[in-house]
């Protein structure tokens, strides 16, 4: 896994963005950027050559699930790995996210180990299918 990969963290709470950013830094990922909802995130993704997207679900403006769908519908972005980190814990929601093409799903509150494990899993699987 490339530790220099460019990561976008999308969450409407700056505190949660900071926590994820710090956890990623601890895992060796320092090339992290932030956006506070889908509306700001999508143009950043389209113009930014990002390698990985970590997004919340429930946000004002464009929600995370819509951002995920927009990414999968975008000719340039459709292959971008997406990890959802959210307090949304209903089974139907997880199924919807899976159907929309999410690569991983973490329910808040979560631990540093879970984040690390899910990220590793996503990139192992991508490497295996590549």
């Amino acid at each position: 896994m490339n530790k220099d990969m460019k990561i976008l963290i999308v969450d409407d709470f700056s505190t949660m963005r900071r926590i994820i950013k710090n956890l990623l830094r601890d895992l060796g990922f320092t090339n992290t950027h932030e956006a506070d909802d889908g509306t700001t995130a999508l143009p950043m993704l389209q113009g930014g050559n990002y390698d990985f997207l970590i997004t919340d679900w429930n946000m004002p403006g464009m929600q995370g699930i819509d951002l995920l769908k927009a990414v999968r519908a975008d000719a340039k972005l459709f292959g971008l790995p997406v990890l959802m980190v959210t307090a949304e814990a209903k089974k139907d929601q997880i199924v919807v996210a899976a159907q929309a093409g999410v690569n991983g799903y973490i329910v808040k509150p979560f631990t540093a180990e879970i984040l690390s494990e899910k990220i590793n899993k996503i990139f192992e699987r991508l490497a295996a299918t590549a």
């Binding site: 700056s14 505190t15 710090n22 307090a87 814990a89 209903k90 929601q93 329910v107």
Partner: protein
């Protein structure tokens, strides 16, 4: 009073009047009026009751107006306070943590560097000039460790103090719960008075609409309990 009996009374009244029996006629008029008066009193009684109820309702309405006009905006402000307070606490904590993480990395690097040199010194592989430099490094490292210990203590205390948000926000949230409880009670009373029935009126929510964190323990089969449940569900979907 039945119409037939009133009709009889009316006919008797006519007969009495035709015969010029004034006393009987007056008695009959009074009898007829009595029945009307009785239902009239009943109606007035009902109206009074309704008026009373309406006044009670209006009183409660004015309490609701007070709640809607000042207490709900106040509750909103309180909840905003909770958001701001918790946000400040997290930033305060993270600032302390970030500083400590940087310092501990620096310390670790310093210790590794020194133990490499120290290892060479103990094996007698070090020239005198190099040893002098090592002594200088050790002095600086000890200063760094001391600084780190002082900073650690300060920042850990800072993190400790930042947790005070729980007490403050807890109290504020409790106040908001009280207002919500009162609104609920008033609404239930109003619905009862207006003759409505309380039933299961909760709207069926769209299954995948975002609703934020699940509050409190839940036995809802539609909600996952932890990350393991999420992983099980996803693996059942082929993930």
């Amino acid at each position: 009073m039945a119409d037939t009996s009133r009709l009889k009374q009316a006919r008797a009244l006519v007969r009495a009047l035709e015969r010029g029996n004034e006393t009987k006629a007056n008695d009959l008029v009074r009898e007829l009026a009595n029945g009307t008066e009785f239902s009239l009193f009943q109606e007035v009684g009902k109206l009074t009751r309704q008026l009373h109820d309406t006044l009670v309702n209006v009183e409660q309405d004015s309490r609701l107006v007070e709640i809607a006009g000042s207490e709900l905006p106040d509750a909103r402000a309180r909840l905003d306070f909770v958001i701001n307070k918790t946000e400040a606490a997290v930033h305060r904590t993270l600032n302390a943590v970030e500083t400590l993480l940087l310092l501990s990395e620096k310390n670790k690097a310093g210790a590794e560097n020194l133990s490499d040199q120290w290892f060479r010194f103990t094996r007698g592989e070090m020239a005198i000039a190099e040893f002098k430099a090592l002594c200088h490094d050790i002095t600086r490292f000890l200063e760094d460790v001391n600084e780190f210990a002082t900073k650690s203590h300060g920042n850990l205390s800072e993190i400790l103090m930042a947790q005070d948000y729980q007490d403050l926000t807890g109290q504020v949230i409790r106040r908001v719960i009280d207002v919500v409880q009162e609104v609920e009670n008033k609404l239930v009373d109003l619905i009862r008075l207006s003759g409505g029935k309380l039933g299961s009126t909760s709207k069926l929510k769209n299954g995948t609409e975002a609703e934020g964190p699940q509050i409190g323990p839940t036995a809802n089969a539609q909600v996952v309990a932890n990350q393991d449940d999420v992983d099980d569900l996803l693996s059942s979907l082929g993930f």
